[in-house]
Amino acid sequence: MNFSAIAESLPMYWDGLLTTLELLAMALLLGLLAAVPLGVMRASSRRWLSAPVWFYTWVFRGTPLLVQLFIVYYGLAQFDAVRASWLWPWLSNAWFCAVLAFALNTCAYTTEMLAGAIRATPHGEVEAARAFGMPWATLMRRIVLPSALRRCLPAYSNEVIMMLHATSIASVVTLLDLTGAAREMNSRFYLPFEAFITAALFYLALTFVLVAAFRGAEARWLAHLQPRR
């Protein structure tokens, strides 16, 4: 094991770690914000609301993220119309393209998760709220969404870990994240073991931190579902 090469590359890995965290945070934030209204639409009993959202989640959950990223990054840039439009300063940036592709992908999964949780709202609570004359918006805001978001928590923690792993694909479109740093080190020193094991250790550490954070969140917000001690 060539530790001197690893030591020499550590600054690159540190920059890569920061890039990975930035990508993850932005993608999750945008994805979650968009998933709330979309999840409500998806769980709606009105076909004209749920069908378009169904189509979106079907396409984005049925195709690989790598293909989605290639389409956003290389595919869109092919068209003169796109290059001449106001979107171009955004789409010409690799970081923005990666965040866009990741956000669209995580939003699709989160939407389905949230829709499932909304549908699992105990029927009695909704009836009682309606009996009180609550308008639809208040019903959503005070009864359905708080409990649905909490019900999602275990599945969402899985989704966050999956997204962390997915960010490793960003290295394919020139971004220098953790995996990108490993590939750089490999192409410079020809030491695949050292390069990729270092990256793997960083990812493992991040995963443990996230799992612990979610366990804490579940202890707080899902306390009502824990078994009696």
Partner: protein
């Protein structure tokens, strides 16, 4: 009993010699690493076959050495690791013999040598001074001599690394990067002469510093594989002498690509 013994010993001695004889007639098997994303040196056609100058040279050398060659497609930055891992025995992928690479692999004599240049939008001049690089985005293929040179010398520019040169050209055409440092011939035939390359041109000086760009493109081999190296050098001399090289070269270039 005596007769049986003498017959047996005759048969056994034959059996001992035959494998050697058969072995001498067995063609040498060489796995050659090729890229397939670097026209006109190597590219993949619609029928899935890899073609190009590198491929023709590899086949010609193998024919000259009377060896059985299998072409193995790899990404460029995976070539040297694959060589070290014994997945392939030789690399014919426009790989230059640089001092840095010579530390880890051996090279045969060169089979061509071309300089490297910057390509940018026509009218944009990047004349090679540090001031001209400030704020520019330069795209290079990861692990190449251009990658090393740009990283070391183009201070002030943002270097973006891609897995394939094709991807660099895609982003150059769409305007994501301002320029690319690439082999002059690959840039000319693989980009400038195509419709996508309209409106782009060479700019800046000719780069051929041997410390970074090496002494020419050769066949990369595992360190210590002197037997194969001698055979390849002999084969290269032979095809240069008997006109095969000239014929192959004429298919792609109208100038002498062997260089100085």
């Amino acid at each position: 009993m005596k007769k049986l013994l003498s017959v047996l010993s005759f048969v056994l001695s034959l059996a001992a010699v035959l494998p050697l004889v058969a072995h001498a007639a067995d063609p040498m098997k060489i796995r050659v690493g090729v890229e397939g994303a670097y026209p006109p040196f190597s590219s993949v056609g619609a029928d899935g076959k890899i073609v190009g100058f590198d491929i023709d040279i590899a086949n010609a050398l193998c024919a000259q050495m009377k060896a059985q060659c299998t072409l193995v497609q790899q990404d460029f930055d995976a070539m040297i690791p694959a060589l070290q891992a014994k997945k392939i025995d030789a690399v014919v992928a426009s790989m230059s013999a640089t001092p840095e690479r010579l530390k880890v692999v051996d090279f045969s004599d060169k089979y061509y040598n071309t300089p490297n240049r910057l390509i940018a939008k026509a009218g944009v001049t990047i004349d090679g001074t540090p001031a001209s690089f400030k704020g520019k985005k330069i795209g290079v293929q990861r692990g190449t001599i251009n990658d090393r040179f740009a990283t070391a010398k183009f201070a002030g520019a943002a270097i973006q690394r891609y897995t394939k040169q094709d991807e660099v050209f895609l982003d150059l055409a769409s305007g994501r990067i301002d320029a690319t440092l690439v082999d002059a011939v690959a840039g000319d035939v693989g980009f400038l002469k195509l419709p996508a390359g309209k409106g782009f041109a060479f700019t800046g000086p000719v780069y051929d510093d041997p410390a970074y760009f090496g002494t020419g493109v050769g066949v990369a081999l595992r360190k210590g594989d002197t037997a194969l190296r001698e055979q390849l050098n002999a084969a290269i001399k032979a095809i240069r002498a008997n006109g095969v090289y000239k014929t192959l070269q004429a298919k792609y270039f109208d100038f002498d690509v062997y260089g100085k």
